[in-house]
């Protein structure tokens, strides 16, 4: 198994003067692939016609049945980030990224078998469980490496990678539609062929990331960069909190709540985006097909805002700080969620305002994900970033189920009580505003960790050394030309 030794941690250490700008493309290759999960809903309607082809036959799956595929995948994403953060630190990013590629690709292939044989459990197992594990492994594997390469700009670096996750839907949606059009016919809606091709394509694309990723050599730091000593009460530490100790700090749980509340509010809109715009402006379009096209357009716009927000807000956070960035998310979010109901047909009747408000909200949803790794690094240091951040990502699993459930359940109960469908989202939008207010409080309570939480060992002055390669740090650290 000499070939597998290429995946060893030591084989991924960068040579001297390695250009660190070669690392973000490796991360992007992974995130652009796994981000396809946000476009999985494109398969939803065709899967409800998998047997009837042109109509939904009694034997076809119902939408709620299919909806669980996404939820299972997101749930396993969060679980695997929590479980495998330690493994990532032990074996390095290359092996984990390879495992992610195998799981994500296999998830598609097993899912395709499920579609072909009309066995929903194969979709749950394939795309949901195995694919979800691939999502989690792929999500965390490049993040800690990027933070180590860019200690001077962690927000920018993680924003670049996690922007890729938002971009994955931007690629995945059109790709799914194109492949289904190629493989569909009188006897097929085209999902089986599309999933097989996508599994193989994404595996190959992720392998580019696997063999491009490099970790910085021990003691490496950007030329001319000197880590700032932590000011008294400062929010950015130059020390380390071991992950087991981090779990005992209130800051860990406050960060968890911050991420969960921000995500719950955003993911509820994402999951319902197309029906929401069609309902809130019901009557504006003369035909269902125009309304459906508008819904598709709205989903596309939101994915662009999601993608852009991940990079924009995370990059901004390098200058204004993470706490201030989240303060902005929550204050703006409280206001905008409360205003969205007024944009509907019966009040301001403004699609433009509705789209702008939702776009900003979704940009902050993405920004919340992209900024969190840097927030964790600021509070707990870089050494155990994967283990700590991986556990915080369980908040995503919770939000992935709670968000859509809240939106769907409250909307349905409003309609059942006789509320016009154009107003059926008001209550849930006000609830989201309230959730973000809670998030504002949680964020405000975050302070630097107490002295007792820091590890007693001498703090590394620069990026954390490779924990398996305990070479002495040279007196003149290897650097690269300033970029």
């Amino acid at each position: 198994m000499a070939a597998l030794s290429l995946l060893d941690k030591g084989r991924a250490v960068a040579p001297p003067n390695y250009n660190r700008w070669l690392v973000p493309p490796a991360a992007l290759a992974i995130h652009l692939s796994i981000g396809e999960v946000y476009a999985f809903s494109v398969f939803k309607i065709p899967l409800t016609h998998a047997i009837g082809i042109t109509y939904q036959s009694p034997a076809d799956w119902k939408q709620p049945t299919i909806g669980w595929i996404f939820s299972i995948a997101i749930a396993f994403l969060g679980l695997s980030t929590a479980l495998f953060g330690g493994w990532l630190e032990r074996v390095g990013p290359r092996k984990v990224m390879f495992a992610a590629a195998c799981c994500f690709g296999a998830g598609f292939l097993i899912g395709a078998a499920g579609v072909h044989w009309h066995q929903i459990w194969l979709l749950y197992l394939g795309y949901g469980v195995i694919g979800g594990i691939g999502l989690g492994l792929g999500y965390i594997s490049p993040v800690a490496t990027l933070v180590r390469w860019f200690p001077d700009r962690p927000g920018l670096a993680t924003g670049l990678a996690i922007m890729g996750f938002g971009g994955g839907a931007v690629i995945g949606g059109p790709l799914e539609r194109f492949l289904m059009s190629v493989f569909s016919g009188p006897n097929s809606v085209g999902v089986t062929g599309a999933m097989i091709v996508m599994g193989l394509l994404y595996f190959a694309f992720m392998m580019f990331g696997v063999f491009t990723i490099r970790t910085p050599p021990p003691g490496w730091r950007p030329e001319g960069w000197v880590p700032k000593q932590q000011a008294a009460g400062g929010m950015i530490t130059s020390r380390t909190v071991a992950w087991r100790d981090a779990l005992k700090t209130p800051q860990f749980y406050l960060l968890w709540l911050v991420l969960c509340l921000n995500t719950t509010a955003g993911i509820g809109i994402i999951e319902q985006a197309s029906p929401m715009i069609q309902d809130m402006f019901k009557g504006k379009w003369s035909a269902a097909s125009y309304a459906a096209a508008a819904g598709t357009g709205f989903v596309g716009l939101l994915s662009l805002f999601n993608m852009g927000g991940r990079f924009f807000w995370s990059a901004i956070s390098d200058y204004v700080g993470r706490k201030s960035t989240y303060f902005c998310f929550f204050v703006l979010g409280v206001i905008l969620y409360a205003l969205v109901p007024f944009t509907g047909l019966q009040k301001w009747n403004s699609i433009a305002l509705f789209v702008i408000f939702c776009g900003v909200l979704i940009s902050m949803y993405g920004g919340g994900f992209a900024t969190m790794p840097a927030y964790v690094r600021d509070l707990f240091g870089a050494r155990d970033l994967s283990q700590i951040y991986g556990r915080i990502l369980t908040a995503w699993s919770v939000a992935g189920i709670a968000g859509p459930a809240l939106v769907n359940y409250i909307r349905k109960s409003q309609v059942d009580r006789g509320v016009p469908v154009t107003n059926a989202y008001s209550t849930v939008l006000y609830l989201m505003s309230g959730l973000l207010f809670l998030g504002l409080i949680c964020n405000a309570l975050i302070r630097p960790v107490s002295e007792s939480a820091y590890t007693a060992e001498a703090a590394p002055a620069g990026p954390a050394p490779d924990t398996l390669n305990r070479a002495n740090v040279p007196s003149t650290p290897p650097t690269q030309a300033k970029l």
Partner: protein, 83 residues
């Protein structure tokens, strides 16, 4: 060309080599192109689809919004909407 630092027990000795291939700006551009091209395609296709949101359509007849069944599917389903 070395793939990893040589450990000497005192400090890491970095063997001087000719400029490493990873230095090449062309390689950096190529690596970015590998990821940027599919992303650019996706952004273009998505933006093209998004325009439909603002496309003028024949005006709807004036109606008072009324209570309807739960949300229609993203594309119309002729029968048996079991959502």
């Amino acid at each position: 060309m070395i793939s990893h630092p040589q450990e000497s027990g005192r400090a890491l000795d970095y063997v001087a080599t000719a400029p490493h291939l990873s230095h090449s700006p062309i390689l950096v551009l190529l690596a970015w192109a590998v990821v940027a091209l599919p992303a650019a395609w996706g952004i273009y296709m998505t933006a093209r689809t998004s325009v439909q949101l603002f496309k003028p359509t024949p005006a709807a007849a004036a109606t008072t919004p009324t209570l309807t069944n739960p949300t229609p599917a993203q594309t119309p389903i002729p029968a048996n909407n079991n959502r």
